[in-house]
Symmetry: C2
Subunit: 367 residues, 2 copies
DNA sequence: CTGAAAGCGCTTACAG
DNA sequence: CTGAAAGCGCTTACAG
């Protein structure tokens, strides 16, 4: 008897099994048995190897044959067995999505974009966590790389800027695409937005509203975007001829709590701002809460703006003015870059920069 | 030359490749080559089959042999090749996590819990979306089941209550565990909390604070939890002898927007509530925003409570009183149930009910 | 309790 | 441009 195949036994009414007859085990339908490359080959009148070539988009197949095979594949709705492919080749069809913190809402957006694109390209996504603050992170990473034979890896901030981490992927010959990297930009393809220009755009929005006492809350310093956003803010302030004032710049870490703490420092500080630009939405929400506690009318007495256009931004009151960063699209683009690299030989596109957008909502107004 | 192995060519300095020498292709280190079951077998002095038995926890291996093999496995840090296992057996080590909407924050919590537990049990999680409102959902589902050979599936609300969907898994002989199902509870193992008791607890909290004009915002009717929470609310009200008042009950759909709409209907309605119990946190946040717009002091003039203890609940001001539902733990438990089923023969535990918790924060107070 | 043989469904490395 | 053979690393189905 062959494993996983169908066994047909004489069915007997419930409870009256003949002693010698094996129990009827419920198995999937015959119709459910997956087709193999051989079925397609037979049907198309070619060898399995030729079917393989067509499936993998390899060259050296006559157009007529290619078409014929493709037609049979479509008719039969044949789907190659991923496990067999992965076993026999050096690479799997898995794409690793590497996070420092997979629990943040940013990670969720990235994941969804990656999943959808991966599905449409016949890839699968596996989520991996890398905790650079653990002493054994390298060993753990190598373990999972050996087992997974990843066809590609997507590195997200902040771990995308760890040179030692990238080196591990290079050693394992796993193609890498980074999202929003801050250094070694020539080392791997990447997907990004122009954080600096975006932050400048936001600051210009505040300046255009008439604000001059604009405070800035920096993000987590381990994220390179933190620095770029700060530079963009400075660009706009410098261009407007507004003097830098250290009393209006506070260090945050991208968390809600740090937004509250930073805002309280600013609101009770030596110089009261008329606008606060937080480096991300979560901190901006913290600022909003701090302002409410302090009974400061937003936006009438204080404009508050963020960065990201997280879901949160619309669930605040007033809703947050922010920069829309297309996280899902960026992740999808990263998957496409990886797929291109393995699909066509050298069809590799290089890096991609996606557009950002200033979203003006109710949390900012003229002063 | 063997596929995926190392090729060593004479290295030449950059840019001076001898014409006849093949390009040096960068390949993984020898040290990186994954160990196979044969390596372990040789080292332990047994057959590969015996190693396989030990790895899979099968019976019929002498304790001494089992230990010896286990020791070698540990020493060598051997990890079986998932693809090979999946190819040769009927089942893979993949667990499918099925969502109606993988983008919601609930899905994120569930995913994280499942991922972590899966990783510790040597499983992998694949996320799948089922859109019951698409006419081809069944075909799409079958396609992915055929390709994946899932070792198990976790069904989340609301699709966990679709009998046709469960039937498809049964036909494919894929073990299913449901999270918070509302019907056919004997059909599959499941993980749940006692939504009804939890909602009752919350309503009792409001009643204990002295509230009597308590409004209730129902959730999305396609989720069975919606009904259970409503029943729990009624239980508490009935027990307290508070008359039901249709004017204080509004239909929502679990979204932030529906919370705003419902709250506006209540606040401008025929009978003003002194407390609003929203069936989830996202709606409660909508209620909070509506109250701010209407200049109603929360919680002094109006207590607002939710359900879920989503991240949002702590980012509101005032922070939301809510019911903590351990979504990640529930997902982790579901993974364990599936793993148990395939590990030991018949070691299958049955369903699990996890505890909920009333979290009192600043959005509710005595009236 | 243990092992030798065959096979899972593909791809690789050749040969023509 | 196309195909026959061997192999990927496991598990299944036997046999002892």
């Amino acid at each position: 008897m062959i494993a996983g195949r169908i066994r047909l036994h004489k069915m007997t009414p419930c409870g009256t099994l003949d002693p010698g007859v094996p129990l009827l085990v419920f198995r999937p339908d015959v119709s459910m048995k997956a087709l193999t490359i051989k079925d397609v080959a037979r049907q198309a009148g070619v060898s399995p190897k030729t079917v393989s070539r067509v499936i993998n988009g390899e060259a050296h197949v006559r157009p007529a044959v290619r078409e014929a095979v493709a037609r049979v594949v479509a008719e039969l709705n044949y789907r190659p067995n991923t496990f067999a492919r992965s076993l026999s080749s050096t690479r799997s069809f898995l794409i690793g999505l590497f996070f420092d913190d997979p629990a943040c809402s940013y990670a969720n957006d990235v994941l969804l974009g990656a999943l959808e694109r991966a599905r449409s390209l016949g890839r699968h996504v596996v989520i991996e966590t890398v905790s650079l603050d653990r002493s054994d992170w390298q060993a753990r990473l190598e373990d999972s790389l050996v087992g997974l034979k990843l066809g590609g890896a997507i590195l997200t901030p902040p771990i995308c800027d760890c040179a030692d981490l990238i080196a591990i992927f290079e050693r394992h010959a796993v193609p890498v695409v980074r999202i929003a990297p801050g250094n070694d930009v020539d080392r791997t393809p990447y997907v990004s937005i122009d954080d600096r220009a975006a932050a400048r755009t936001m600051a210009e929005h505040l300046i255009a509203l008439g604000h001059r006492d604009i405070a800035f809350i920096k993000g987590n310093p381990t994220h390179s975007a933190t620095h770029r956003r700060w530079l963009g803010f400075r660009d706009a302030m410098d261009a407007a001829g507004i003097e830098p004032d250290d009393r209006l710049v506070v260090q945050g870490d991208f968390t809600f709590r740090s937004g509250i703490v930073a805002a309280e420092a600013l609101l009770h500080g030596p110089r009261a701002p008329d606008a606060i630009f937080a480096s991300n939405d979560e901190m901006a929400l913290g600022v909003l809460v701090a302002a409410m506690r302090a009974q400061i009318a937003v936006p009438q007495k204080l404009s508050i703006v963020g960065f990201d256009d997280a879901q949160l931004a619309r669930m605040a009151w007033p809703q947050l003015t922010t920069i829309r960063q297309p996280n899902s699209d960026m992740a999808a683009a990263a998957v496409s870059l990886l797929a291109d690299r393995s699909d066509g030989p050298e069809s590799a596109r290089s890096s991609i920069e996606l557009p950002y957008e200033l979203i003006v909502r109710a949390s900012s107004c003229g002063s």
